[in-house]
């Protein structure tokens, strides 16, 4: 059962554009929602994370918007650059003693120069 659904599968934007990646979850026990960036041949790198008690979090050019009632969250990348071209994964975690991450299926982002 896929507990975190991510879309779109791929995304192409021009430099300076604002790509938006969306995720929806089913398990209301999830308590932590990180986004990871992964380059080919590398492990996922933590970008930014949010908890369900806030609706938005911004770090640099990356913003998470969180809608608890809709069970959805999204990543916005402001002023995107070619160096942002990578695969992005959303994830969710229940917390407490259960600390494993449940990942979405990934979005391959290409930022054209």
């Amino acid at each position: 059962q896929q507990q975190v659904k991510q879309s779109p599968q791929s995304l192409i934007v021009q430099k300076g554009g604002i790509p938006i990646i969306n995720c929806a979850y089913e398990n209301t026990a999830f308590d932590y929602f990180p986004w990871y960036q992964q380059f080919p041949g590398k492990g996922p790198a933590l970008l930014i994370a949010i908890r369900p008690d806030v609706s938005e979090k911004k770090e640099g050019r990356f913003t998470i918007s969180f809608n608890k009632s809709a069970k959805q969250f999204s990543l916005h990348i402001m002023d995107s650059q070619p160096g942002d071209s990578a695969t992005y994964f959303c994830a969710a975690l229940v917390g407490g003693s259960a600390r494993q991450l449940t990942f979405g299926s990934g979005t391959q982002l290409t930022v054209l120069p």
Binding site: Q6, D31, Y32, P34, Y36, G41, K42, G43, P44, A45, L46, A49, R51, F89, A91, L93, G95, S97, A98, R99, Q100, L101, T102, F103, G104, S105, G106
Partner: protein
């Protein structure tokens, strides 16, 4: 400081061979996780250690998969009698164990190819 390291980075095994994959977590990180990432997919949880105790192994796909962390630091994921479906990238992550601090830091992974 040093991040999570994994070795080998690449491993080619013939079907039926046993393999051992190593993970060195960030120093001081109590929690250690193994994930499996198939090509073009998100990582999937395999198992979780807190110090030397394996608290959750619900994601291990079969009894051919075995993980250990005997001294609460380095961990080894062993796969016996490898099958083609075991081909994937195996990722290790580590984390502090503190109240509501869930940040996990990943290593570069070991790409296993079973021929």
């Amino acid at each position: 400081g040093a991040g999570v390291s994994q070795s080998p980075r690449y491993k080619v095994a013939k079907r039926g061979q046993d393999v051992a994959l190593r993970c060195d977590p960030i120093s001081g990180h109590v929690s250690l996780f193994w994930y499996q990432q198939a090509l073009g997919q998100g990582p999937e949880f395999l198992t979780y250690f807190q110090n030397e105790a394996q608290l959750d192994k619900s994601g291990l796909p079969s009894d051919r998969f075995f993980a250990e962390r005997p001294e609460g630091s380095v961990s080894t994921l062993k796969i016996q009698r490898t099958q083609q479906e075991d081909s994937a990238v195996y990722l290790c992550a580590s984390s502090l164990l503190s109240y509501r601090n869930y940040e996990q830091y990943f290593g570069p992974g070991t790409r296993l190819t079973v021929t």
